[in-house]
């Protein structure tokens, strides 16, 4: 597929959404639109990135992000290589720096990194000439998730995000998804609300581009979409919650809450879900749930990003052809 665009993709890496302009984001969306269409064809593979290589370096376990990137790469005919912590030299005590330099020596076009330490993607990007896409680092950022979440909303709302209200509900303090989403949604003109018990809100959250609630009944009132976050079960052990049962009583999104939102308010979840803990099971399967759409958006968004980063240095060639 030939990309007919004269948009210049200036970025070497995708560490978070803060470096993207609204134009960049819209360009990613438009590129993803085309791939989204391909994903609905019977034959889903195109030769665009033939001969390019993408390393999926997943230091922390992940099923959907990794599969999504893997599928995105393969549908573009890129060669994808997966590396996990178990089975890699990292488990033998090799440092991230040495592993990174070793991977670079194989000359990949892109490394996708998932890591449990905040800042790990930047650590890699500072040291490697290839593109680094942050597949989630600690509590810090998950830019591809934020892009696919907004892309999913765009399927329903079109390009006009302005004035829409989105509630993000759950463990805000320890969520990389929320940090990237607050930035991206507000960049697009969405009014963001956050809701969690005070013990799961980070210091300084009042300075974020969002309105903060602790009570779900108030937070959900009139919103156009609710994004539930996964609650890690260890938060209760860390003394941040009295019990999971009490959390579900106060902060689990239910149909009763959703009645307070806009009619047809969308329900989202980045997965994996704890049904009955942060989201009522019936809501996850309800008609206005877009949770599975998020998954298919994820493949299209990651195809767009792999395409843009893998071909970022090809532009002058394209111009020559034109």
């Amino acid at each position: 597929m030939q990309q007919e665009n004269h948009f210049e993709w200036k970025h070497k890496d995708l560490l978070d959404v803060d470096t993207l302009s609204v134009e960049d984001v819209m360009h990613v969306f438009k590129t993803a639109d085309q791939f989204h269409e391909i994903n609905n064809r019977p034959v889903k593979k195109i030769p665009t990135l033939k001969g390019r290589s993408v390393i999926l370096f997943f230091y922390e376990p992940s099923t959907r992000t990794k599969t999504s990137f893997d599928m995105a790469g393969k549908r573009l005919s890129a060669d994808t290589f997966s590396l996990a912590k178990s089975g890699s030299a990292l488990q033998k005590g090799e440092s991230l720096k040495d592993t990174a330099l070793t991977l670079q020596a194989m000359n990949p076009d892109i490394i996708v990194l998932r890591h449990s330490s905040s800042g790990a993607a930047q650590f890699l990007a500072d040291r490697l000439p290839c593109s680094v896409i942050n597949g989630g680092d600690g509590w810090h950022a998950h830019p591809t998730q934020a892009l696919l979440d907004s892309f999913t909303l765009r399927q329903h709302w079109g390009d006009d995000f302005y004035g829409k209200e989105v509630l993000i509900l759950g463990d805000i303090a320890h969520s990389r998804v929320v940090r990237s989403n607050v930035q991206l949604l507000s960049k697009l003109g969405v009014r963001v609300r956050l809701c969690a018990p005070r013990t799961l809100l980070p210091r300084g959250v009042e300075s974020w581009n969002a309105k903060v609630f602790t009570r779900l009944e108030y937070a959900v009132e009139g919103v156009d979409a609710v994004m539930c976050l996964r609650l890690q079960l260890e938060r209760q052990q860390a003394g941040l919650l009295p019990s999971l049962e009490e959390y579900s009583r106060t902060h689990c999104l239910t149909a009763r809450h959703l009645e307070l939102a806009q009619p047809n308010a969308l329900v989202m979840h980045p997965g994996p879900m704890n049904r009955g803990l942060e989201i009522a099971s019936d809501l996850a399967d309800a008609p206005n749930s877009v949770i599975l759409e998020q998954v298919s958006s994820g493949v299209a968004i990651r195809m767009a990003l792999l395409f843009l980063f893998a071909t970022r240095n090809d532009r002058h060639v394209d111009q020559g052809d034109a």
Binding site: S95, L96, K97, H115, S117, S118, G119, A120, Q122, F123, D137, G138, W139, H140, A141, A173, R176, R179, P202, R203, G204, V205, S207, W208
Partner: protein
């Protein structure tokens, strides 16, 4: 060997000659025209001298060094360093740490007990002193600080009498707080019996659990676990109350938060026997230095807010802060070049401390006299370490300082093994050109 004349040294605003006899300051006199020797020494000075004045012929035979008009400053004391030996010699050794010290203007250093094994028994203390003596027989002088509790666990008192007899001059759990207040109380009492002061690393260990930086909007943004600054002040306040109740002095280590300064100021007004220290990095850097996940700026206590930096700077001249220390904490490059949450805490400080402090003098934040109080006279008084005031009988510990020389802090210009400094690449002003300890030239 350790008798000589140093001519043309700048002391305060005057150019003077210094007569050093037997490792001690004998006489300081105006640089004369025609002769480097002192004239007739007044009778009162002569009588006060702890040694006989040599004859004029003998004086004429002494070697003469020319300071060339450079400043002569008394050797500084660093009351808080980690020299990593025994056990972590890949980070630093007593030899490399003392080398960095002496080039940085320090004639005395107090090394903390968190070595491996911990300095909680006389064998470790003796090993430290032996290493120092072997590599630097004439100094810098090493003063070990013994562990306050066994293995720094905060559970049982370390054998402080044994440690003091072996050469420890103070006790500290540095690196870890003493959470149990009953243990802290007993440790302060017992240390006082040994005529030693307790130095306390103040941190609420539960509030600071697994923290990577200061807790703030920035930690929230970076997705790093923060520790609230008040965790320090909570323990500082406890220590002040203990010191007042027990009438036993306590020294607060590496103060980083403005509320701790407030608490210490108030306590001093009430004549509570409390003293405290801070470090150059808390006077120059705020938590902004960790943005970008720079592990060179990862230190404990963590760098705080800009208001804390301002407050600490102010406290240098109000008397709230008694002394400056480096908290020199060297690490190897590969230990620091890792993910932020995997990196050890610490900044290598001996090489840059004096020039950074000189920057404060140049900026007018403190005077040169303040600088000498903070780095020499006050620690000397608090810890009972002899200092040089250039009076007859003082130890001849001093260095020549070029106040104008510009140099850049780089891994190559640092003498410490640990190159972990957030000041790497910084242009500094002021450098040690020569250093005598006990009258012996060591630089």
């Amino acid at each position: 060997m350790n008798s000589f004349i140093l001519k043309n040294a700048r002391l305060g605003s005057r150019e003077l000659n210094i007569l050093v006899l037997d490792g001690k300051i004998a006489h300081v006199y105006p640089a004369g025209a025609g002769s480097d020797l002192p004239g007739e020494i007044p009778a009162d000075i002569r009588e006060a001298m702890p040694f006989d004045i040599p004859s004029t012929d003998e004086l004429a035979g002494l070697p003469v060094e020319d300071a060339g008009g450079l400043k002569a400053m008394p050797s500084l004391i660093d009351a808080h360093v980690h020299l990593r030996e025994p056990g972590q010699e890949w980070k630093e050794t007593i030899a490399t740490g003392l080398k960095a010290a002496v080039h940085g203007g320090f004639g005395s250093v107090m090394c903390m007990a968190n070595t491996d094994p911990v300095n909680d028994n006389a064998a470790v203390t003796r090993l430290m002193l032996e290493q120092a003596r072997q590599h630097f027989p004439h100094g810098p002088r090493l003063y070990p600080v013994g562990a306050l509790t066994k293995n720094l666990e905060g559970k049982e008192l370390a054998p402080m009498a044994e440690l003091a007899a072996a050469g420890c001059i103070a006790f500290s759990n540095d690196g870890r707080p003493v959470t149990n207040t009953e243990i802290m109380r007993r440790a302060m009492e017992y240390a006082n019996d040994q005529d030693c002061i307790v130095l306390d690393h103040c941190e609420d260990e539960y509030l600071a659990n697994k923290a990577q930086m200061n807790e703030s909007a920035l930690s929230g943004k970076l997705g790093l676990k923060g520790q609230p600054a008040i965790g320090e002040t909570i323990q500082v306040t406890r220590d002040i109350l203990l010191a007042e109740y027990l009438k036993v002095p306590v020294h607060i280590q590496h103060v980083s938060h403005r509320r701790s300064i407030d608490a210490i100021s108030n306590a001093k007004q009430l004549h509570v026997p409390v003293t405290c220290e801070t470090c150059p990095h808390y006077l120059f850097l705020s938590e902004e230095a960790v943005r970008g996940y720079d592990t060179a700026a990862k230190v404990n206590p963590p760098l705080r807010g800009q208001e804390d930096v301002e407050s600490l700077r102010n406290a240098l001249t109000t008397g709230a802060i008694d002394i400056l220390v480096t908290d020199h904490a060297p690490h190897s490059a590969q230990e620091k070049e890792v993910e932020f949450d995997q990196a050890p805490n610490g900044i290598s400080g001996l090489d840059s401390a004096l020039s950074l402090t000189w920057e404060l003098v140049r900026q007018g934040v403190i005077t040169e006299i303040d600088m000498l109080k903070l780095w020499c006279y006050n620690p000397g008084r608090i810890f009972g370490i002899p200092v040089n005031t250039f009076r007859c009988g003082d130890p001849a510990d001093f260095f020549l300082f070029d106040p104008e020389e510009r140099w850049k802090l780089t891994p190559e210009t640092m003498h410490s093994k640990g190159k972990n400094s957030p000041f790497i690449g910084r242009q500094l002003v002021g450098k040690v050109k020569a250093h005598w300890i006990g009258g012996y030239k060591v630089v």
